[in-house]
Symmetry: none
Subunit: 220 residues, 4 copies
DNA sequence: CATGAATGAGTCTTCATTCAT
DNA sequence: TATGAATGAAGACTCATTCAT
């Protein structure tokens, strides 16, 4: 599992900051992508400067072009790269046939809480939300690889619900409703956090309460 | 005695104003703001060109600067201008003391469905979501004038709930949960609509079902 | 004599700053020229804004064009206007046949000290020095109307010198040498005054001492 | 697995660098400064176009910004750069203790005649005179590094004068008087040269005659 | 005569992209 | 591979000039 990128690559950098340490192949690409995520997140696609990406990645500007043909491609590949590793997990969450539906939903929300909020993936989602409209290929990729799969997973879960522990039928029609508070959390944290901090954990708990209206357990 | 200098050898004038169509006062400002909303929505703040705003508003580039000192100010004023008219209505929705809470919530959602989706306000919210992080003044304005008031309104409504028709307590703690599907609708329509159109009406209906879990009436 | 323009025209302005007081004909032109001198002096020709000239003159921008066809012409006419009144005096100084040469030179220097330094004429000269190269018509006007006449006056004076109270022959060949310290004073005051104030009076006195090398009286 | 986005539909690249002729390091900076002096001299700071500077230097417009952050800084650095080399010589002229004062003054004037008039330094001085008032940092630099040192040098020379070959006392109080005709020469050549050419050599000779009033030798 | 809103050419500055080294 | 100096198209903003009122 590749998430939780360490702040610095494992190999300790030499003392002098200028020493042109030889890096493992792929390490540079990694550094570039990480820097790109930071810079694009901070300024948005159009206002981000490749100069900044390069210097934050510790490479020369021209080096970027050895890995990516242009700014747009760097942006899109970067956003794919971060998404890919999460997809497997997401799929696994949905496919556990034996887990009771309520618990499966809870697991989904917990996954979001721990594996998205506060991680690079949060920034990625924010960028999709901000820039997706201007990058149809990117939006398509996310729609197909993440969104559609996520929605399908929820539908699968809901389909297993035979009683009415929660409103499975409504959820089945609009699995988006499961994710809406998660999206809201990300947007809030990017926009209003400084005016009113949001306790995502508690919000998700409240979300579960409403979804399961007392039939499920309270979150710990 | 005003001794005459030899005549200046007539050089072509560097610039000059052509006859402008005089319009009603305020009409131009209106046109500029409308054009700005369109252009900023389409490209985002950084990538929007004031040239485009001007030509779409039917004015010269310089004219923009008669109304707004710079791009940023135009952007912020535009986004505040569109918000203002909605605030009164929002306030009214919350203050109707006699309306049953469930109906008040329903009215709020209906308001959103008819007065936001498909109107300029939808674009405005999308821009707040996309650019808010880079415009703290703007985010603050929206937080204080729109968000905080909206949340307070919901809390007021929830406080009137004495039975447990819906999970008033959870809503009271996180009124955001009422709005989350609305935010999702806006984001979805801006990003994934072309891949999977979203029936906002039906989504809101499902949202209500979950919120009221059968205690309220189904929407028609 | 028209120099020493009062800061405000004699007629007291009405209380409200906005009242469109009717002015004497020519008064507006006067105001514009005065404002132009200030603004051009402060910023130089290219960087001066006609907007500033207009507002400082208390007229609308378009009004400038009722009096002058363009910026350049305003500039040149303004610089002529201020020069003209001084020319008569300058001529008088030179033509007093009975005055001893040394005294005539002293009178010339005194004239400069009192009628140029600290008056609008100082600014005018500074503008000629700064911008003359870019305004050949202006330079020509000044050369013919002011410089040539001034030099001729000095030559006339020097020609009356029969003894050798001062080096009349050198002065006759280069009357500019009489004026050089005056030019220096103006340039200095415009450029270095804030770092080392220049006592123009004393400098002129020293200049006289050197010119007359002890044969003339010391200035008081 | 790095899932491939569909190929970006190749749009024309917005810009791109053509093969530059690699030159010796510093050569470009040199060329820019030289071009800047020409262009600023010709038009003054405000009216000078960086486009012209660039093309006269044989570089692209953007290249200017690799060397100087903005127009103003280019202007100031340029004017300081040209001054620096002359300062050493100036200092040497003043420190020759054995040279008789009259000869030292003569050497100073000769230096000006050959090392300033007709050289880039003449343009520099003209720019200081024209623009100094608008560039206090620049004026301060010139005052401290050139003017003050020049005046001090003359004072040092004058202090060595024990007889009264020339009016050492007046010169000591106002060393500016030594330089005034030099300033006048520069201003004249920039402004009136086309109407009446000035023989700077002869003017300086006359200046010396007056300063030394016959006690010194005539210039060759 | 006077106004000042409107115009649009012109200029500084930025930054994605290229390529000689 | 890697570099970073160089390029030049593009865009924000200014301001002399015009003209409907």
């Amino acid at each position: 599992m590749e998430s939780k990128l360490p702040e610095k690559p494992a190999t300790a950098p030499p003392a002098g900051g200028k020493a042109p340490r030889r890096r493992a192949p792929g390490e540079r690409q990694e550094a570039i992508l990480k820097a790109a995520l930071d810079v694009f997140s901070e300024h948005g696609f159009a206002a981000a400067r490749l100069d900044d990406v390069a210097s934050r990645a510790g490479v020369a500007k021209g080096t970027l072009y050895l890995y990516f043909p242009d700014k747009e491609t760097l942006f899109e590949h970067m956003l794919q790269g971060v998404a890919a590793p999460a997809l497997a997990q997401l799929a696994r969450l949905a496919s556990a046939d034996t887990v009771p539906p309520a618990a499966a939903i809870a697991a989904l929300l917990a996954f979001f809480e721990t594996e998205v909020i506060g991680t690079p993936r949060e920034k990625v989602i924010r960028l999709i939300v901000s820039e997706g409209a201007r990058f149809p290929r990117l939006a398509k990729f996310y729609y197909e690889e993440v969104i559609a799969k996520g929605l399908a997973a929820v539908r699968t879960i809901a389909a297993r619900e035979n009683h009415n522990n929660f409103n499975a039928e409504a959820i089945s029609r609009f699995p988006q409703l499961i994710f809406a508070p998660l999206l809201l959390s990300i947007v809030w944290r990017g926009t209003f956090q400084q005016f009113e901090p949001l306790d995502v954990s508690a919000l998700i708990a409240a979300h579960k309460e409403i979804l399961l209206h007392g039939h499920g357990e309270r979150n710990p």
